[in-house]
């Protein structure tokens, strides 16, 4: 869960879209891990692949933004109660 929310946060932090390689480095994932998580996130419609002038990019979807907000609140809640 943390990896997924961190990946979403990284994409969000880069203005909503990021190059796949940058995401891989920033999320500290191996290529195979990255591919597996990307497939999962795309399958859940949390991110999408985009073709732009600058090449392929990963973009966060509306559902991705919503789930990221929920994760942030969850972490806040857990931390507040020391859980």
């Amino acid at each position: 869960m943390e990896i997924i929310s961190d990946m979403l946060a990284i994409v969000q932090g880069k203005g909503g879209s990021i190059k796949p390689t940058h995401l891989m480095y920033k999320a500290n994932l191996s290529h195979s891990q990255m591919k597996s998580y990307l497939d999962e996130l795309i399958g859940k419609n949390l991110i999408k692949k985009e073709e732009t002038d600058k090449g392929r990019r990963i973009a966060i979807t509306k559902s991705g933004k919503d789930i990221l907000s929920q994760y942030s609140r969850l972490r806040e809640f857990e931390k507040t109660f020391g859980l």
Binding site: M1, K26, L74, G82, L83
Partner: protein, 249 residues
């Protein structure tokens, strides 16, 4: 009939409004905890929600009982209908006592569940012993009203102290708010112990209202924080730091 609730006449009804407000806050906490549990399957969150849920049911029990008691609806209507037999009076008394018993029992149980978190493994015997003492306190409070408030005060002090320790570890402002809210609830129980004097009963209720207002403020803070856009979120997996130092909000 004996006076079951030490409410001054002018405060009748207002205490129910305060309890209704508390009920709403408790229900919100229960729903939030359940939703977050579904998100990450952290059982401690589920238990926390159960604790708040138990106290919410306790509040509901006292609200319903007081509504009947104050506004003579339901069973007490029969008293005024010239069929006042000792049997009816007994059943009405039983209704009040059952309502207030559930309030006391579920409140103490809920507070204990919150105190026990995060939950480590304990034997079933330990839980049975606590359940026994909670039951005894709730039953004894029928005759000696302050036993309930004394037990609640004791558990609430332990909860506030627990969050003080959590706060000393994480220095997180929300935890401080939580500690203050539980501290005020503890103080309200102390005031309730002396509530034979009507003014102190009112003061206890006001303190309770303030603590639940603080709980509401805490919910709003958590809600607002989740909406804020944070570059890289909490990305703390690699730093190994969950203290939140340097986090500005």
């Amino acid at each position: 009939m004996v006076k079951i609730v030490p409410t001054p006449d002018w405060f009748i009804g207002k205490d129910v409004v305060i309890e209704f407000f508390s009920l709403i806050i408790l229900i919100i906490f229960t729903i939030i905890a359940y939703r977050y549990y579904k998100l990450n399957r952290n059982r401690n969150i589920l238990y926390l929600g159960s604790g708040f849920g138990l106290i919410a049911i306790a509040q509901l029990a006292t609200i319903l009982t007081k509504l009947v008691l104050y506004y003579d609806i339901g069973p007490s209507e029969q008293i005024g209908q010239a069929i006042i037999t000792s049997q009816i009076l007994k059943s009405v008394d039983f209704f009040y006592y059952a309502g207030f018993f559930f309030h006391r029992f579920l409140t103490l149980l809920g507070l204990y569940v919150i105190y026990r978190l995060p939950r480590d493994r304990k034997s079933i015997g330990d839980y049975l012993i606590v359940l026994y003492f909670v039951l005894i306190s709730s039953l004894l409070s029928r005759e000696i009203f302050y036993i309930f408030h004394l037990t609640a005060l004791f558990i609430l002090i332990l909860i506030a102290e627990k969050y003080l320790l959590v706060y000393n570890k994480n220095r997180f402002f929300n935890t401080k708010i939580l500690m203050v809210a539980f501290g005020l609830l503890a103080l309200s129980q102390f005031v309730f112990i002396l509530s034979d004097i009507g003014v102190l009963f009112v003061l206890g209720n006001v303190l309770e209202l303030i603590s639940y207002a603080i709980f509401l403020a805490l919910i709003i803070r958590i809600w607002k924080y989740g909406k804020e856009k944070k570059p890289y979120g909490n990305n703390i997996r690699y730093a190994g730091d969950s203290s939140g130092k340097g986090r500005k909000h």
